[in-house]
Symmetry: D2
Subunit: 396 residues, 4 copies
């Protein structure tokens, strides 16, 4: 049995690379399983939602192996894996899903009813998501592998575009779900809140869906500059509290057809209040600037409890929303994690055809496993990069 | 030119029947129009949203002629009305709509861009909805009549079911929109908040859509008893603050597939707090009891400003919502007024076929024009009735 | 190991009850599988599509154990079955599906890519559908059981409604798919071609979906009488070749909103030609009577090759269709087998709530295993019954 | 009153430019109308469906003024036109539609129930489509102008892209409807039958919708070369009768996700039979090459009667279709004319944003009114061009 190493959460602000056990064909509760595969991890990315844990905003226990964005090679198969074989290169959705429950049958794999005893929906390497080991590691177990794994059609072609394909495990389908639920289509004018990797992935999704204009708002100058470089219209939220005014300056009208919240509950104020936490800011802004009859996609994370919030209401996940404004405009709001499996195959084909240069859009940056702690720090400081861990140095 | 009389808002708590001008072929701003018809009103109902004005919760001016639920007979036609003729019996959607703007073309008639200079969406006899005269009167003008009017196929058959058909102008499509946007379908388990006429119409809509079980929650005992009589499962909200527990007692599971808010911003607390205003109560309850992956339809009115609210945040239309809870369950929220024209024809066919006994469901009660002020009072006290004004005593 | 008996195809016009092997945990190609369960069959119905084989219209080999409509009790479990347990009462979709391929993930379980090497889609006891043993037997193997089986929530309640619930394995979802793809909704006027069990199931589906009127056309007087008894409008196709005229006589207009072909390629002529085979008759009729902009759902079977056809073109599955007529009316056509799993849970809830009395609608008639050959004969003669085989006399 | 000139059909194979009456505010039956505008035509294109008439394949009467692809400037307004004004530059959908009937209300403007007494659906300058004068002229009447006209937001910007925007009146929305009804989306592999302007517009639509690969099949070498030049994968149908084989040679698999028939009833055989009329060839091919579960969009025209057909069945619009093949693959078929108004606004925004260079894709070629007869000839010979008539020499 080979050794294994992974990125481990050691307490607020601290991650370390440590030796960890090589995966067994077992569920987190110790039951033996027949449907799993063990992957040699080819690439695994650092995600903004990992940061929520690392910043100490959650109840994540120390010792947790992080990482839910996994692409790898099959090295071992359970006895009930029929359609994968050793050597297959696969993308793994961050949602752990059984493929057998009511929700999985209905393509709601983000709400699988069986992989997490606590509540619908599981994930690798994440607090309260079922206890599955994370993939920022050399090896990882993937359960229900026939169902969960998306096999790349051709290994060589896949390796050429591996920095694009690695985004299929989470941020590209996350951004795409935001765009789809916001009703983005051909000719749409869209505003994306947040110029981090998920915001950029949402913007790229709008682009491939035929949007006429994609605006991205943020308070981070470096991220805005990058967004502009890769083809989007930057909206600098430090310039005014009135986002409608900023939008009008950019496109002559103060409202958009659709909007996407890629920020979530750790939102900050705008204009004069830039820098202050203000968890309902993005939602209230989007209600203001979205045209009547439009929709708001909300892939950005909102939590049921936020022990670290300043506002006492926010601590129990309550936000002060101008809901009456949204109602008067007949807006629709779609929330929650993306069901990756609903989208990843078609996005893969678009990538392989050269139509979705997502690695460039999010500025994919390869690092070694040992560089992961530094990657976490840089990302937390707002570097306009998406860090891709290459634990076996396959890409170098 | 015949005389005209109508129900007029005279200040908080007061409506009177008065002489009013006979309609002219003019828009509210005085422009002559070619596309209108004048209707002899056959029936016009009192609506819960009229009550918001009459209770003084809005900025409605005194002198406003009320009434947006109109069924009538064409008695005069503008020069550009091509498809209606004198004597036609028609149902008029409460939304005034031009049929020519971007939103009307897309079946968003509740957000017509041209009939209300203040904001998208117009209505008859309503504050801030464009200044169109109300229909609780003997005669009323209907603009863009070819587009707006739904002609009944046969006059005699229509008169036999007129108490059902009168619900097509507002509450039936309103309830139906709630059900559709909540994703109600064959086999659904649904919870409807509010046992007033809109709640009952939503419940009847769930029924015709094939729901397996329809629960209705309220704090009004008389309304709950009526809901039970017409075939729904009553949930008495005075019994507990924990609605999930009440639901579990009724159907063995504590959650539903879909839910519909037919209450809106004038919501009251439950359990111990029954009777207290608590504008976010219904929304927070529905997030709790709706299953992960479900949807919430929100036909109940939420306002941009509520000068009469006790809570200062609510005064500007802000609600304290446990949005993180909804997000963790991937819920979808649909808001706003129904576009009546999208639904009324099909609902009419269902009524004419005897499949939607909505008059009985909402307890339609005919009154004369002069009885309207008393009807407003009785309805405000929570009588389990839907008052139908018969200004020409056509039905007696 | 218990003994086993089943209904076996012995050549054109002949079925016999014979001893057959007790199922093994093996795929048809002999591979050992971990994901199967063995069911004690509670009920298994005779289907019109079994008749295609028994009449000798297909290349079905003698020795084939028939039956794809299966409801049973779990008596044995493979090592990778996690969510079922012994004693569970389950409904099995006729489509064998792996739950792991691209099509199954997208709810296209009728086109599973892995269970049938010949082409997409598998079934139990059916020619060219993958070689899975049929369920008109005492015991049967169900592969990928966690995915395929729909467990009834409560055994006692299920046994009370077992004659309704048995229709979930095929004809109810088949008729429902026809109705859904025909665009049936609240207030629809629908024409169903064929008053056999699938036609009646389609009609019942229209009813639960809110249709205003459901017409059923056939040439069999007994079936038409039954259709009328259970609430539908019979159209006697022996009366005229002009179906529009017959429809107009029934509902005053000569066209319908939606139509459903529950007959398929073994269609017969109408009016003077009643009784003659005329494989495109139904399709051409539906194009004529469906309103412009409408849709046609086609659950009735059309085959790629029909060696028994009289018309040489029909022998290779070619039909002479007035497609230009359909085009000029912008019609939509939806074909193919239903993906049962997409619909069966919601239909089950509607049945358990007492809203879908499908057993009565199709005239479910219980017979023993030994009576199966007689059931085949009676059904072939057009008896207005749906035969339900009870191999273990559980219901008596 | 200014003079007027237009392109007139003079019998099979003959069109002439003649003096014609200046439009009056009248319907074809002579009724005075209030809802029309008179346009000075800026550009009007020659369409493949004009060719059906000019080739004498229809019952078009001589003297018919041709042209249904109209972009123009408002020069006169009826008394019930409220939202347009003189000088507005507008695109006119080829479908004449009232905006007031059941179908128009439901966005089925291609099936308007009132503008054509003969059957649902009207058009300018077309046989059996209601008798509205064509737009290959200096001036033309547009009825129901507020509803039908799409106003360009800015005149100068519009004039810069006028050769793209002129495609909004027909072929771009026609191709787009084909793509939408074929289910084209992000990552789709699509086959388009026909490399004429509609085929190219469908291909461009697939592109903006995010398709991964777009193949176009034709037998015309020049058109195939052009298709390749503008970015699509050409399939030369003269090379083999087996289109699957040709597709496999191009993309390694013999089938596609979606397919679009942009040819219609004047289809010709392939391979050895290239050049022979074979009206069901395209449909039968598409059933063969479209993957199970896919859909076929059919914007190509199929007629109810084809007096010029060689095959007697085809003369009454009957085609010999291998429908059983389509059924076994659960294919969906969508037919009919596009409802332009459902798509043209969003396509306009995509053009104005520079994302849809449709003029280049279809090789738009400007000609004068007097050059129209020659344009008809060149187009009929299969020139890879889309001819745009500029009757007032506005563009030169």
């Amino acid at each position: 049995m080979p050794s294994n190493r992974g990125v481990v959460y050691m307490g607020p602000g601290r991650v370390e690379v440590q030796s960890i056990p090589y995966p067994k064909m077992e569920a987190p509760d110790g039951r033996k399983i027949e449907h799993g595969v063990i992957l040699k991890v080819i690439v695994s990315n650092i995600c903004g939602s990992d940061q929520h844990m690392v910043r100490g905003r959650t109840t994540a226990p120390t010792g947790l192996v992080l990482g839910h964005e996994i692409t790898g090679e099959v090295v071992e198969l359970g006895s009930d894996v029929e359609f994968l074989k050793k050597g297959d290169l696969v993308s793994i959705p961050f949602n752990v899903a059984c493929g057998r429950c009511r929700n999985c049958r209905e393509q709601q794999t983000g709400l699988c009813l069986t992989v997490n005893p606590a509540r619908p929906g599981g994930a690798y390497g994440y607090v309260d998501m079922g206890g599955w080991q994370g993939g920022q590691a050399e090896y990882v177990l993937v359960p229900y592998a026939d169902f969960n794994a998306l096999k790349f059609p051709d290994r060589d072609t896949a390796m050429e575009k591996i920095l694009d394909l690695t985004m299929l495990s989470d941020i590209l389908p996350t951004g795409f779900h935001g765009a789809i639920t916001a009703g983005v289509g051909v000719g749409s004018i869209v505003y994306v809140a947040g110029a981090g990797p998920v915001g950029l992935a949402a913007a790229a999704s709008c682009q491939i869906l035929g949007a006429a204009a994609v605006l991205i708002g943020d308070i981070n100058a470096e991220r805005l500059a990058h967004a502009q470089n890769v083809g989007f219209i930057p909206i600098d939220l430090t310039k005014s509290e009135d986002v409608g005014e900023l939008i009008e300056a950019a496109i002559r009208v103060p409202e958009v057809d659709c909007s996407i919240d890629c920020v979530g509950f750790e939102a900050h104020g705008q204009g004069r209040d830039a820098g202050q936490e203000a968890p309902a800011t993005v939602l209230n802004t989007l209600m203001k600037i979205t045209r009547a009859g439009g929709a708001i996609g909300i892939p950005g994370l909102y939590v049921t409890d936020d022990p670290g919030a300043k506002d006492p209401a926010a601590r129990e996940g309550s936000l002060s929303m101008r809901f009456g404004l949204g109602w008067s405009k007949s807006l629709r709001f779609s929330t929650g994690q993306t069901p990756v499996l609903r989208y990843n195959r078609q996005l893969m084909y678009a990538i392989l055809a050269g139509r979705l240069p997502i690695a460039k859009t999010v500025n994919a940056t390869v690092i070694s496993l040992d560089e992961a702690p530094k990657g976490y720090q840089d990302f937390d400081r707002g570097a306009p990069r998406k860090f891709v861990i290459d634990p076996h140095r396959t890409l170098s």
